[in-house]
């Protein structure tokens, strides 16, 4: 065992999938995660599921956070989970945010998205969820 291992922040890849450019939410969340001590890799707008997963692998991210406001979440969120399966990286946790109706949240969780946050969610709730999920690192 190495001595005095520098605490390694949990790395979270944050991406906007889909075609819309509404990045207010994703930016506010990224700032809050940074302030909570996480390393946030922001990959920008209009990422395809393939791009998101490829970047997450290169960055050795433990978590992928997806944001979407275009209504394509039922197609694109499961596509990210599928791509993780294809790349044998199902240990990476996926969560999402955006305008997502209740029924869709239930369906998406069944398809392997760990958690979904809708507008109005306090930032602290997202941070608390991550801390519970990754007690060993980050903030």
């Amino acid at each position: 065992m190495p001595v005095d291992t520098a605490v390694r922040p949990v790395r979270i890849l944050v991406a906007k999938v889909g075609l819309d450019g509404h990045d207010r939410g994703v930016k506010v969340v990224a700032r809050a995660l940074r302030d909570a001590g996480y390393e946030v890799i922001y990959t920008g707008l209009r990422q395809t599921p393939e791009m998101v997963v490829d970047a997450a692998l290169q960055e050795d991210a433990q978590v992928i956070g997806l944001s979407i406001h275009s209504g394509a979440h039922m197609t694109l969120f499961p596509a990210v989970v599928q791509e993780l399966k294809r790349r044998k990286a199902t240990d990476i946790v996926v969560f999402g945010g955006g305008i997502i109706p209740e029924d869709d949240i239930v369906a998406l969780k069944k398809k392997g998205v760990a958690e979904l946050f809708t507008p109005g969610t306090p930032l602290q709730e997202i941070v608390d969820w991550l801390r519970k999920r990754f007690p060993q690192g980050g903030g």
Binding site: R24, R31, G71, P122
Partner: protein
């Protein structure tokens, strides 16, 4: 008289200071953070000549008759699924008393790509209607006489293409372009600043905007060629003053670009229109609308030397604030929207969209869409607010707030100028940073409960009843893909290829591109094909993300 008034004020002041104040920790500044006094008096009234509606600087309205002459246009933004479905919704809204159409396009259309592009999957028909070619546009306006209604189209990067499609549909209906009325959003600068639906870099993007303004000045003279939008800036998290300042700065950048093209100010300025947000902070919004008119009139006259009175008058559309709506207890959104719509009316808007209560969840159902329209009708016909012109003019508070917002906007104009203008400021991420900072500040205030959102961080309920929402049938996606492929199969391919080749060549030069785009559209070139032709010449833009 004067002495007695001062005495009364002093008495009030003493009594106020000795009376208890609320200690709920909730901010008393405006939602944008402008500090407010508990009371405004005659001392707060600015010293200036009395302002009158219909007269420079138009603070009190651009028409001498206010809404006595004509009510605002009730223009509900709508579109979903396919052209056929949306056409049905339009006919429904027109039958229910709506006075103009406003087209919402889906994301692939807004981003200039066809429905069969790989990145269109899951997006088709979700945020609006899917339009791939002239064929879809013909279906969209089937049975709607374009010479008799006005249409607003919310589209930006591919705006020129959609306008050409509208012109081409009118041609088929036998309506000349010169008879067409409506508005094209066509405001690319706010895309770089806030909404991020950009495709080309700023320079060629501006060329397309100026091309369409120049073309319409001659060929489609009743068309509002651009709707310079603060709405998206505000929704991205800006303050009211930032919304106002950045939008008017964008407006001046378009004016500069047109002048550079060699156009005369009075030949195009009267066709510029604006689009603002009506947020929940009631008086601040009214002050913002009043300040907007005064600033624009002054800049147009003093800086640009506009002579024609119509060039000085800022006309604007308003939409109630999408960000103020909540998924929690969504019925509350009806109340929010009504208050915001009232602010827009008291601020003198020319047209108005009221959000439906379920828009925070999905596209509105028929019932929610009708309720939203009814809210406007209620304001217009039951409340009596339209009977008096600028009813809050002269209010100590509203006049002082109007001046304060104007002052803050002027500070921003100076900073933008120091940065070298709007485009260099975009490239330096100035606006993006300012907006992200404001958004983050507001979010923190919510978390600390220094601002309350009813049903979100206070007055919540545990068991929310699920609301019925509009679902887009996933089958539509395949049908739309088949439709665009059918168009490609059946069109006159030689004519289409020739038109696109001519467009490509023109793009490398300096010709106005509108006639080339119009010919491509007539030849049933798809939106994606036209955009890709232009991308080959113009390239695509990637932003520097500022968080």
């Amino acid at each position: 008289m004067k002495v007695r008034a001062r005495d009364a004020k002093e008495v009030w002041k003493e009594e106020f200071e000795s009376s208890p104040t609320r200690d709920d920790g909730v901010e008393t500044s405006t939602i944008s953070g402008i500090p407010l006094k508990p009371l405004y008096t005659a001392d707060d009234l600015p010293k200036r000549d009395e302002e009158m509606p219909g007269a420079f600087p138009y603070t009190r309205g651009i028409h001498p008759g206010g809404y006595r002459g004509r009510l605002w246009t009730m223009r509900q933004f709508s579109g979903f699924a396919t052209a056929e479905e949306t056409n049905r919704r339009y006919k429904y809204l027109l039958a229910n008393g709506q006075t103009g159409l406003s087209v919402a396009f889906d994301m692939p259309t807004l981003m200039g790509q066809d429905s069969d592009a790989p990145t269109s999957r899951g997006e088709i028909g979700h945020c609006g209607v899917a339009i791939d070619s002239l064929a879809d546009m013909e279906t969209l306006f089937d049975g709607i006489p374009l010479g008799e209604i006005t249409t607003s189209m919310t589209i930006n990067s591919p705006a020129a293409i959609l306008l050409c499609m509208y012109i081409a549909v009118a041609e088929k209906q036998g309506v000349p372009a010169s008879a067409l009325g409506g508005t094209l959003q066509n405001d690319i600068l706010k895309e770089f600043i806030a909404q991020k639906e950009f495709i080309f870099p700023p320079e060629p993007s501006m060329r397309l905007v100026v091309d369409s303004i120049e073309y319409c000045a001659k060929e489609v003279p009743k068309w509002n060629t651009i709707s310079i939008s603060g709405y998206h800036i505000r929704e991205a998290g800006s303050t009211a003053a930032q919304e106002l300042a950045f939008t008017l700065a964008d407006g001046m950048a378009y004016v500069d670009a047109c002048l550079e093209r060699g156009m005369r100010i009075d030949d195009f300025a009267s066709r510029l229109s604006f689009f603002f947000d009506a947020h929940i902070d009631f008086f601040e919004e009214i002050a913002k609308f009043r300040a907007a008119r005064r600033i624009w009139a002054r800049w147009m006259r003093e800086r640009y030397g506009a002579q024609d009175e119509r060039s000085l008058k800022l006309r604007f559309h308003t939409q109630t604030a999408g960000v103020s709506l909540t998924a929690q207890q969504p019925e509350l959104n009806i109340a929010r929207t009504a208050i915001e719509a009232l602010a827009a009316v008291l601020g003198g808007t020319q047209s108005l969209h009221t959000n439906a209560m379920d828009e925070v969840l999905a596209l509105p159902t028929d019932k929610a869409a009708r309720l939203a329209l009814r809210t406007q009708q209620l304001l217009a016909y039951e409340t009596g607010v339209a009977n008096t012109i600028d009813p809050l003019g002269g209010s100590y508070f509203v006049e002082a707030l109007t001046d304060e917002i104007e002052r803050q906007a002027e500070v921003y104009f100076k900073r933008i100028e120091e940065l070298g203008g709007v485009i260099p400021a975009i490239e330096a991420s100035f606006f993006q940073k300012e907006i992200a900072d404001s958004a983050f500040r507001y979010q923190q205030e919510l978390e600390q409960k220094r601002r309350l959102m009813v049903g979100v961080n206070e007055f919540t309920v545990d068991d929310e009843e699920p609301m019925e929402i509009l679902r887009i049938d996933p089958k539509l996606e395949g049908e739309q893909v088949a439709r665009v492929q059918e168009v490609r199969r059946t069109r006159d391919q030689a004519r289409c290829s020739k038109a696109l080749a001519a467009l490509r060549k023109a793009a490398t030069g300096t010709d106005n591109l509108m006639p080339y785009i119009l010919e491509s559209v007539r030849a049933y070139a798809t939106e994606g094909e036209i955009m890709n032709t232009l991308i080959e010449v113009f390239g695509i833009y990637t932003e520097t993300a500022v968080i």
